[in-house]
């Protein structure tokens, strides 16, 4: 496929199909980890991504998924570059991504709780009568909460 014939919007739409393996409702676009898409000479497609956390074990899988997805669409030369700077922040997460997180049962990042403390809104019953169980959760990007009203435990996607 001639990459030059395709606009970036279409390419972003393709990448929208690739989900975070740990949080499958979020695409890599929702997460804000795709930093740039470039069409180089010689029909090479160059995708620049950044990790959420340095130790995030999903990065290798995401890189592989990008390659597979684009190869399936007919791109022959695909280059995936990982950059560290500027450092990823939850500010890059899309509004749609935050909504999807909540619907999935994960409280989205909230500036009022940039340092995790009691009171993050429960994604299930929407009560703010919640407590912080641990500043660390099931993955590097989450903290662990419990709702005092509906009693359900839930994850909070930390501000980063």
């Amino acid at each position: 496929m001639k990459t030059s014939a395709i606009d970036k919007k279409t390419l972003y739409a393709y990448l929208e199909e690739i989900k975070d393996p740990e949080v499958p409702v979020l695409s890599i676009i929702d997460l804000g980890i795709v930093r740039d898409i470039r069409m180089n000479d010689d029909d090479e497609l160059e995708i620049t991504i950044t990790s959420t956390y340095t130790g995030c074990p999903a990065m290798d899988m995401i890189t592989a998924s990008i390659r597979t997805e684009l190869a399936t669409l007919g791109f022959k030369k695909i280059k995936v570059i990982q950059v560290h700077s500027p450092a990823w922040t939850t500010d890059w997460m899309s509004a749609g991504g935050k909504r999807k997180l909540q619907e999935y049962g994960i409280a989205p990042p909230d500036k009022r709780f940039s340092t995790p403390k009691d009171g993050v809104e429960c994604p299930l019953c929407h009560s703010s009568n919640t407590r912080l169980v641990s500043e660390f959760g099931s993955t590097a990007c989450k903290a662990w909460y419990q709702c005092n009203d509906c009693k359900e435990p839930f994850d909070y996607f930390k501000c980063h």
């Binding site: 990790s51 956390y53 340095t54 130790g55 995030c56 074990p57 950059v83 560290h84 700077s85 500027p86 450092a87 990823w88 340092t115 169980v133 641990s134 500043e135 660390f136 959760g137 099931s138 590097a140 662990w144 980063h160």
Partner: protein, 270 residues
């Protein structure tokens, strides 16, 4: 097995880059060894939440180590590309799994045993404080890869620092038993803190004079110790040598565990 990556084999690397590689390996080794130590808690934490917390910190540290090893490998290969490829080329894995004890440049603090929870928390706090000020400084380094990794990691380190500070305070100013254990941890670890502020030859060459980080470090440690009802020791004999490869006996045991598989089954993959 050929030890392609030992210091003396950097002979093809120009001196300035040789120091740079040594420094990057020092940063990587600090993170890997402390990450490995913390990972020893996996499945043994005092409660599930804290087991998850300490292993999450371990994951962040190992992630930082990977970034630095990848960069070191890239620099090494630029100067001495191996025609055979494969095993002869430096990689993040070869640097972590195939270097010997004397080639590791981590500070002595990182390799000290976990002891009890108090000792692990104090080690994390003393190191995270140092790492926080160091990475804040490195963010503006002229080497943009080092600067980028530091900038990225700083967010994680800030989190580790806050969390470990809270534990030092909780245990230091806790029960009679927890206070006693924290005193023992201070006694156990303090002599390994001096080395952090004595620049190794490669740090001097790169004008990374860690001595100037000491004031900020001491101020933070004093503040937390005050709140934790702990006293900062004075006139303690300080151990050194880790940054130049002379380690305490503990590193050998860590490496024999960490490197066992690749040593026993070279190139093993799954």
């Amino acid at each position: 097995m050929e030890t392609t990556y030992s210091n003396n084999k950097f002979s093809k690397v120009p001196p300035q880059d040789g120091f740079r590689v040594a420094y990057i390996l020092h940063l990587a080794d600090n993170s890997l060894i402390l990450g490995q130590r913390n990972a020893e808690w996996c499945g043994h934490g005092p409660v599930l939440e804290q087991d998850i917390a300490i292993t999450n910190i371990s994951l962040d540290l190992i992630g930082q180590a990977r970034s630095f090893y990848q960069y070191a490998a890239q620099l090494i290969n630029q100067h001495s590309p191996s025609p055979g490829g494969g095993r002869g080329e430096a990689s993040e894995d070869s640097l972590a799994y195939l270097r010997t004890e004397r080639e590791f440049k981590n500070c002595l603090l990182a390799e000290q045993p976990n002891g009890d929870w108090a000792q692990t928390m104090l080690r994390q706090f003393l190191y995270s404080t140092y790492q926080y000020y160091l990475y804040r400084f490195l963010q503006t380094n002229s080497d943009t890869t080092i600067a980028g990794i530091a900038e990225k990691s700083l967010k994680e380190v800030s989190y580790h620092l806050r969390w470990s500070s809270e534990w030092v305070i909780r245990l230091g100013d806790g029960t009679e038993e927890s206070h006693k254990r924290m005193l023992r941890a201070v006694d156990e670890l303090w002599s390994y803190t001096g080395e952090l502020f004595i620049p190794a030859p490669y740090e001097k060459e790169l004008s990374i004079d860690t001595a100037f980080l000491k004031d900020d470090w001491a101020k933070k440690v004093n503040t937390v110790f005050d709140e934790a009802a702990l006293t900062v020791p004075s006139n303690v004999f300080m151990q050194e040598g880790g940054k130049t490869g002379t380690h305490t006996e503990h590193l050998g045991y860590i490496l024999s565990d960490l490197q066992y598989l690749q040593r026993a089954y070279p190139g093993c993959d799954w």
